[in-house]
Point group: C2
Chain length 256, copies 2
């Protein structure tokens, strides 16, 4: 069993939370892969460089200067600092973009209404390449930058990178996919952090979507979760980073 | 035989030269490792971010904001674009800092006169880790960022990274180290680009240093070259990128 863990920008932006997570992740037994989001640093650096940040539906419109900034921040600043921290805790991390080892190939998003620029939708994960790294004892740490195979880097949604990597690796061995975010799981009452729904299957999801309990940014996360299960991922969990060390901590398990 | 190739900032800064090099490097037969310098982009980004660049004796004084910039630019922007370009030419590149796979550990430079800040001098190369990657069919592409093993990244001279990697790998297999720079080799007349000295041994080096023919930035390059030979590297060449495709091109071979 290999665990694929995704942490979001909220962990990256919070030094205390990030340091705790890095220690806990480093101590996890067995094969594991980390995918990290970007957080607010790219927006701050863009501002300082005088590059306007344009968001449409929660997605960053990525023109060429913005692509350079996210490549610098996600693949450079964040990825290498996370790798150095994991190494200091005894975890043999190796930081990757999707270009590295040809691991994740994507295509520039085609949308008739909006030009998202250098935003990539994943086509292919080279699971054998990733497995060579884990078999060699390395822990892959992915940022959410991929490539098109023709020399162009593409900014890619980190949840999608996580589920794509999980689906790819699932063709070679059993995979558990864990999305860590700022809540303990999917909540039945958005204002009550203790209202974690323990299990969501497709029928429950349909009714929660209908009633508006699940909305906004949780919708693509849920879609990624179901897609992963359908592609053969054994277990998908939505939870907080606390789950990494305590699997009795509150969490939502997604089931088909 | 594994070839360790170092390209300097002058190649990184020249789009045409960089594209030609990437095509040529991708086509090279056999195991190979690339080490790239940084070029002027970090200085330009620092300026835009309002961070003062301080150089002492050709070395960048690296305070915390400058470390963040060089990490972004060297390990992110440059490294990932080089990797994506090599992948597009069929070379299975994997971009690395010294933190990745714990490959290069260094310590913060101690100097009684100048505080260089986050500048690292190399202590140890994990040749076995690098060999795992080349044996798996990957081509490591190193930027000149290393780590101290305690979670801190360090800005490191790219020539030193190249010779350290070459020396480390030489303990496991035969290595040829090729420093590519803007001239065809070491020149006997600095103003005459055709005056390439074909061979330099320690005696010739001593006399060229004494007469001032070799000076400035060439001195540490020569020291790195001799150190590599003494550590078991089979062949050390100082040349232009043209040598990659044509080993009859003008070049200087360093010999003990």
């Amino acid at each position: 069993m290999i665990k694929v863990i995704k942490i979001g920008g909220n962990v990256i932006d919070n030094t205390t939370a990030l340091e705790a997570f890095q220690r806990d992740f480093a101590c996890m037994e067995g094969s594991k892969i980390l995918i990290h989001g970007g957080g607010k640093i790219a927006t701050q650096i863009s501002q300082k460089l005088g590059i306007e940040t344009v968001m449409v539906g929660g997605r960053r419109v990525t023109d060429r200067p913005t692509l350079d900034v996210v490549t610098m921040v996600y693949a450079g600043l964040i990825n290498k600092n996370v790798v150095a921290a994991l190494q200091s805790h005894g975890c043999n991390a190796i930081g990757l973009s999707g270009a590295d080892a040809g691991s994740i190939t994507s295509h520039k998003r085609i949308n008739k209404d909006i030009d998202y620029g250098y935003v990539g939708d994943v086509d292919r994960v080279d699971a054998a390449a990733i497995k060579k790294l884990t078999d060699a004892g390395f822990t892959p740490v992915f940022c959410a930058i991929t490539h098109d195979g023709n020399g162009t880097l593409l900014n890619t949604n980190a949840d999608t990178v996580a589920s794509s990597v999980a689906c790819g690796v699932a063709s070679l061995e059993d995979v558990e996919l864990i999305f860590c975010f700022e809540k303990d799981g999917v909540l039945s009452c958005p204002d009550d952090d203790t209202s974690v729904i323990p299990h969501i299957d497709t029928a429950v999801y349909a009714s929660l979507k209908e009633s508006g309990v699940i909305s906004g940014g949780m919708l693509p996360k849920m879609e990624n979760a179901f897609a992963a299960l359908k592609a053969g991922v054994k277990k998908v969990i939505i939870t907080s980073p606390a789950y990494i060390t305590d699997q009795n901590a509150p969490h939502t398990e997604i089931v088909l």
